[in-house]
Amino acid sequence: MRGRWGQRFLQAAALTTFLVLGGLTIFLFREGLPALSKTPFEGIVFAVHPDNPVSTLTAAQVRALVRQEKRWQDFNGPDTVLIPIYLANIERYVPPTASIQEIRLILDSLAEFPGILFALPPALLPSSVKQLRVEWEGWKEIFFSTQWSPTYEPVPAVGFLPLLVGSLWVSIIGLAVVVPLGLAMAIYVVEFLPKSFYYPIKILWELLAGLPSVVVGFWGLVVVVPWIQKVFRLTAGETALTAGILLGWMTLPLMASLVEEALRAIPRLLEESSYGLGATQWQTIWRLKLPYVFPSIATATLLSAGRILGETMVVLMVSGNSPLLHFSPLQPVRTLPATLAAELGEAPVGSYHYHVLFLLGVILFILTLGLNLSAYLIHPKDAQAAR
């Protein structure tokens, strides 16, 4: 009887894997999806001078106005200077010690400027102004905008494309490092390494795999960043290239050990047939072994890509953290995970910023899941052996 309860306990433990994956999916989507339906300016009303003919603007247009990239005339508005007033800049006009009545008085007098643009809670809004409709299409802003500044007032920019491009740059460079070097390491260990060196080198691989990423990031910041800066004559050495190189190097043990296992599993008969036909060692490697283990190489590459895409701390520290759309690997970038790590701590729970960051988490989750599932489909055994 006791045995049955024991078994039930063990089974329950195994079933927690369902709970973990299910819970992870549910919570990510539950917190992330509101970013598509909510607006970032809930409780805020936009308003202009009653004589201003503009009645509807898109979020991007408001942003351009506040940034002074556009003027009222561009939207058939009055030929005057724009004065934007929102919660983050209200201190410029209102002394911090002012009472509510005083604030109202000041705002009322400001409302007489024809170029005024208010973005305030309804309670603070002067009565004489005309409400302005600001259109916000969540999915368009998130998936097609090319700017990321989620705390910009009064209208944030939450386009995740720059972050995705940053992630892509780092991943491509990381893969360019890890795939050839990892293959070389696997070939070396299987073909040329004296037997007595085998365990020492495997232990070194494990040490490399176990190096805390924050330590790698620190070393990268102190040593690699200045070096990259000098070699490429840049103003800053924090680039996608720096992050990619470090991440590729960190991922080498994963790539190398998976390929190594595959190379060792090649039937002896095949290898000896190749030698028997007169092939040299490298001919055997190139023409027999590497093609033979190609599925494993593909799996290892996809798994490495997933690992690199999800790495957070190194990228946060050495990639420059600049969420702008760049098309050169020698520019600073910001990746998806680095954005989460850098911003989630400052986003109040339940705010629009918080939900958008969770949506980024959903995107990252789907991307890495896709990579890992493809790896699994190509070679299930290898995908399971990776750690």
Binding site: F27, A184, G210, P212, S213, A341
Partner: protein
């Protein structure tokens, strides 16, 4: 003749690459050791930080890391080992077993920062643990589950079937066989997995950012529901957001070396144990 020279060159290249990757590893460890060794002292390891992290030690971060790791290992170790035992010894439905194994693989590919998001949404906000040792420890437990489950499963599977069958043949139930035969024999390998997981958990930074880590809290935690400083996060703070980064750099090197020694010690122990066990059972 030309062909042979090409082959020698290829051999040379793979040899150089293989050793270069490890020389860089030695470079990292050597550099951190060289810069950090002078900072580490008894005082550094046993006193709290002072004067905005420029002086004093890192004791609260060490204590915090130990607390969080213990919670993670306690919860993760129990669930992971049990799940591994189930998969290896008791799973009757082949389909269910394959499905769980597939889930374990899937979970191991999810980035650690995503686990951090999950921990924030579930433990910190929904279950209302707040930013606390409990929330961070549980998040890290979930993160290390795939590693622990797979290790335990391999450990139990490596026990020779003949021993299990002999036990059943003597009239022991499955559970008795598991508790008195399989578990004691597999225990060294299970513990090896736990040691390896300890090294990984100690170095993890992304999942603790939003679930437990405190920016500056130079006191020792008194309950599981308090936030705490931790070694990896403290290092990150020292490097990136100190008031005067140049002045906190020596402290950063000391912290990095402490963290490096701890994680490498556990990783090395696990690797050593694993290779010794491999030799022992390869009769």
């Amino acid at each position: 003749m030309r062909k042979r020279r090409g082959e020698a060159l290829a051999t040379l290249i793979v040899t150089l690459i293989s050793w270069a990757a490890l020389v860089i590893l030695a470079g990292v460890v050597g550099f951190i050791t060289y810069k950090g060794l002078g900072v580490i002292s008894w005082e550094f390891l046993t006193t709290p930080m002072r004067e905005g992290m420029k002086k004093g030690g890192i004791a609260p971060a060490i204590v915090g890391s130990i607390w969080v790791t213990l919670v993670a290992l306690g919860v993760g170790g129990l669930i992971g080992t049990s799940a591994g035992a189930y998969l290896s010894e008791f799973a009757r439905h082949r389909r269910l077993k394959q499905l769980i194994e597939f889930l374990v693989t899937t979970l191991s590919g999810i980035p650690s920062v995503v686990y951090g998001l999950f921990g924030l949404a579930l433990f910190v906000v929904t279950l209302n643990f707040g930013t606390s040792i409990l929330a961070g420890g549980l998040t890290l437990a979930l993160l290390s589950l795939p590693l622990l489950i797979r290790n335990a499963q391999e450990a139990f599977s490596s026990v020779p079937t003949s021993l299990k069958e002999a036990s059943i043949g003597l009239g022991a139930s499955e559970m008795q066989t598991f508790l008195r035969v399989t578990l004691p024999i597999a225990l060294p390998r299970v513990l090896t997995g736990l040691v390896l997981a300890t090294g990984r958990i100690l170095g993890e930074t992304a999942p603790i950012l939003f679930t437990v880590a405190a920016y500056y809290l130079p006191t020792y935690p008194r309950s599981l529901l308090e936030p705490t400083m931790l070694l990896p996060y403290h290092l990150y703070v020292l490097i990136t957001s100190g008031v005067n980064v140049k002045e906190t750099y020596p402290m950063a090197f000391g912290t990095a070396l402490t963290l490096l020694i701890l994680t490498l010690f556990f990783t090395l122990t696990a690797a050593y144990l694993r290779f010794r066990l491999k030799q022992k059972y390869r009769v």
